[in-house]
Symmetry: D2
Subunit: 399 residues, 4 copies
């Protein structure tokens, strides 16, 4: 294990989460220098996390001689400049989500990093939650059969910082903020090599007086026939709802990352302290999570990034993945405008995936539609006659 | 209270559920005669439920001099004939869901009943579950503010009886079987007077070798701007998943009707008995419900029907509601074919509903996008300058 | 089914629940006359439930010529007088829980009813919740093997009415109020014929400035070796916690009757209405139940009572059961004073139950302590050498 | 941060969990040498975890010149010899739970370590789960008011290794295996300075043919008046049930560490892989946890140990805590034999804790027993007249 020395670009909430993770537990890696556009915020951040140096000079932060890894934790509209500068400096670059405001931006960043030959990682924490990692492993081991449908939902009452609400800076609304998580979670479950073909998206601005969407729902059709469904909202009441549901031909997985994780607290008074990210109340029934940076995936994410960097391999989440996510979001916004399915336009590197298996079982020349086990052990078949198209029941001995 | 004497048309699973309900607890109403197309099934049904008489003659069952109410619990393609005959006989008619295979069928049934001037009720049990009734009352009392989004989900591994799989007899696949429930649940939450304007639907046949959809997702846009989202599937694994989620500007409701209701059982052996409707296993962790006919709404449904009949008022679920549901399903199927939003075509009697409230709060000439309460009691505002479109934060004293 | 005409003695909260149940759904039975010690409360009750007559004369209510069943819903210290008077009047008597303040009181009531030869029923609603009934049936069908341990817990922030807090009127504190439910739930799971042998109880007055216990925990040892554990509290915060947990040699059942039943609501405002029995807040996350009188067992309880009365059979919960519960509570209070196990003194009619099965499996002359199935299908045995007392592992092929 | 080099004594399941944690994520610490009583198991362990050296010589492992910290992960009967030897070698020693088989053993270990002046830590992982740490912090911040009752439950179907079943080697049965966790969890919630005064314990051997207890329940009375209740079992069916419940005068906390943590999976087939510690099945509904070594507290435990060692401070869990736990377990076993409360005999260093607050509110000369807020905002008081002892209701305006 090689300890890394990091330049942290950005000192907002996400910079806090990242640094808390990097400096947490027995981690050997340390943030060496923090960059903020504001001297005051940079100083406060440095003091909060015991960081030796802070600066308002982006290039100085990137090119600091002691650092070998640069983490981009800036607002979306500043990603391209920062990533390009890190690549030019020949250092490893880890960029927060979404990679770009558009696929075009993301593609330029990807190209810059690949030209420079430096290590790049996409900081998509929610693909690294411990539950998600174990669920992905179960799916790959076949526990669910073929994946048919993945639903990923991320909703809360809206972002804390002003810039998130400005689509000119971010590239959109709830989709660009939250949908990027959902899309990449879905891709992990259907398989990264499973090409996203087309997208049907509906957006709405139901509550907040803004120009961009505060609610959206979207379907992604993959080459295998599997469907990804994501739901995002900035109008949910009750905290932050992060749930994933995976359906397969032989099984089901339900993940709840935030509101129902086995920690329930009722308090008449309220403790006055921080309860959880985006909690709405400080009294009554509350649902904290144990260790947010672990439960939300930050710990496993940075471990994967640094282990991959050390080993010279690709991390689970690459900048190319970030680019694919942007391409799907571009198609989603186009679909919402066109009110129709839109193709996902992208430079696809993932190969080809066959249609999910569908060779139906036969019984005495008829197609078996469904097989149930009765209480007495016999099997009940629902059969379809291929000639007439008629359906019938049949109860047979087991086996 | 006037006890009623009932003719039950149909002796399948739904006839069992209905009769179990009618003859359950201290109910005063009784099934007097059962009609089945099969003499053997009719006899077995009569013995099972202690019913004085059974017949294979539809008209005889309907016109039996002792009965004043006829319940139609037949497969979908037989509804029109049966309902029309009951209306002609001048008796009260209660018809199971869906009312018709199409809105045209439903409209003819509605017209026949209205012409005859008899009482008609739509047996949509899932709008009568005790949880749903209490949730609807909370929504109407304003606990959630304006309803913005309702999601209703009904999925299981597929129906038990052969005829359900034959779209020629039913009118479709999972939508016609399950979506009809979801649509009417959604209508109850957004308001029955809230006109369904248009529909966007995606259907798929992912697993079963059939011609109709075994999975579907659909959006319904209502006049108020609220969105109804339903998800139906015949490919879900793990039992029967019945969940409703209601989002409002000031609150949230989550209902789970079947798999997580506070009854959890692990058994190494399996008791050999009936566990629950559409349970998949008889060992391991099982999730029974307490009293299915109560939890699934049958008890409250028949109570409402008979109380309304006695009082000369309309029940919560009318045949007109059944017609509206069919009209929405028609639009859903058209949308799935067209891959586009389709208008809901119907004879609307519900009046007009204003756009959900959206007069934004102002603060010193700026629009308040969001207001958060900080741990120290102060308020943090996210503001939008209407002139520049720029966003900013502001922390102010409470109030 | 024979409709019954009822005299309701008592017009407090429990009288409301009973009458709501009796007059609910399609029930044929009706309350004919209400007795209250207060003219004003009797009148209000009569108006609330559309009851033809009310009186402050106990004998008149009992001997009303139109009524055939008398329900005793009075405070504990008034049960004996009322039950004795009903027996003397030769009418069926249904008495709320607990039957007496002591076993001596209960025994006198039982004797009076048996001497009179009238029907008697013990209104122990929580043994009739739909979940409990189904769980009991599963246990009797063998789904859990031998029952080894039953835990029943009922806790809330304390009763609503003043008289509940006065041990002179009730017979005690949280045990007499809540423990009576738990004890009878436990008896249903371990078997009514399983003699309660001895009791170990700890009581405490942790929060409220009263003379009686506001917290208690108690163990009941049954003849089979099974242990019943109950926990009661008047100091729980967060609503009403009603949970039962049944452990058997081959399975487990967990029931949650109130706080986690699949109904979850977040409201920023609060609807101002009644949320649920003993809910503590009207905003934030709330957990209503669907239909309280059904979920809490009142519906099935009265159905069983009247069906049994009509059939001339014993109901599930008899006055003898009420007496046994009192005998166990007497032993609990003695144990709490003595800080030691105390025998349950009672006139036992239940016969004898053998020790739960415990003939251990053997393998090659050793005792099998545990058998696990390994991922590769082989079995791992933990063995005990009966001679040396030494333990060892052994992995063998399946079967 | 100073990386540490570790000698791991013991190569069983707990050694695996410890080493997985130490070598996990970005941890700087490494196991340098492994000791096993078996050459073969030591070699396999070394290969499994990439450990440079293994040995069957205990002293050699302890005195290895490269290591500065020794972890004792041996069966209980070997703790004293190992801890004493590490202390004699002048190295930091971290010992797994329980510290000793008896308080006498634990006291000798504690004395040896204190005489040697080396760092000692008690590896009580379940006091370090992220949920537990956050819950303890909430309790200390006052979110629950005064703690009145803590229930800690740990049950599963019995240990995997033979030696656990031999009370001669372990010191007992389910209490010594599982109760040690519960006791220390309870102490963290009631306060480490809150003296355990006396214990009431019931043990039983309900299922397994062994001499020691396979079930136990125990009450611990603390100086403040708070009660700790623990339940342990080796006969639970359905996996591993780890739950803690904390009751306070103003709030409640419920923690579920294993079976209901927001990860639910149904699989028809079973993936053939490791699902979770002590899972019972590989098909049907399964409830994995995300990252076991994090969720079960190992990560935070070692972080605290090494940070404390580096800082020269005491860890959260000291060897003295281990000794207190043993003293409580000794009292529990005595109580189970005596069927009576038994005092906890120990060398107490924790100071004194006042009785939990209990100065009751007064209203117009009467004692306020309970205050409820009515739907109309008024307050309902239940009052006790101190002279007569009579109780009454009073409804007053708010405030």
């Amino acid at each position: 294990m090689h300890p890394h020395s990091i330049s942290m670009l950005g000192t907002g909430l996400i910079g806090d989460f990242y640094t808390q993770t990097l400096h947490g537990q027995r981690g050997a890696d340390r943030v060496r220098v923090a960059y903020s556009r504001s001297e005051a915020r940079g100083r406060a951040f440095g003091e909060r996390w015991d960081i030796p140096e802070h600066t308002t000079d982006l290039e100085a932060a990137i090119r600091h001689p002691d650092t070998d890894v640069v983490v981009v934790a800036l607002p979306n509209h500043l990603h391209e400049e920062a990533v390009t500068a890190v690549a030019a400096a020949g250092k490893a670059v880890l960029c927060t989500k979404p990679l770009g405001r558009t696929a075009a931006e993301a593609e330029r960043m990807l190209a810059a990093v690949e030209r420079a030959g430096v290590f790049g990682g996409y900081l998509e924490d929610l693909c690294y939650t411990p539950k998600t990692l174990k669920a992905i492993a179960s799916v790959r081991a076949g526990a669910l059969g073929d994946v048919t449908w993945v639903r990923s939902r991320e909703t809360h009452p809206g972002p804390h910082s002003a810039w998130f609400w400005d689509g000119r800076l971010t590239g959109g609304g709830a989709i660009i903020d939250l949908g990027c998580h959902c899309i990449e979670i879905i891709r992990n479950f259907v398989g990264k090599g499973n090409r996203p073909v087309e997208v049907l998206c509906h957006t709405d601005t139901l509550v907040h007086p803004i120009a961009d969407e505060d609610n959206a729902i979207c379907l992604i059709r993959f080459e295998s026939g599997a469907i990804g469904q994501f739901e995002v909202s900035w109008t949910f009441r009750g905290g932050m709802d992060l749930r994933d549901e995976v359906a397969g031909t032989h099984g089901t997985i339900w993940l709840n990352h935030f509101l129902r994780t086995g920690f329930e607290m009722f308090t008449a008074g309220g403790s006055g302290g921080y309860v959880a990210e985006k909690a709405e109340t400080a009294a009554g029934w509350l649902f904290p999570v144990g260790d947010e940076v672990s439960e939300l995936g930050y710990v496993d994410m940075f471990s994967d990034m640094f282990r991959s960097l050390d080993a010279g391999t690709e991390p689970q989440e690459t900048l190319y993945d970030g680019y694919v996510v942007n391409a799907i979001m571009d198609a989603a916004y186009r679909s919402a405008m066109a009110h129709a399915w839109e193709p996902v336009t992208l430079d696809w590197r993932g190969g080809s995936t066959p249609r999910m298996s569908s060779s139906p079982e036969e019984f005495e020349g008829q197609v078996v539609i469904k097989r149930e086990i009765l209480p007495d052990g016999r099997h009940k078949l629902i059969l379809k006659d291929p000639a007439s198209g008629d359906f019938s029941d049949r109860v047979i001995a087991a086996g």
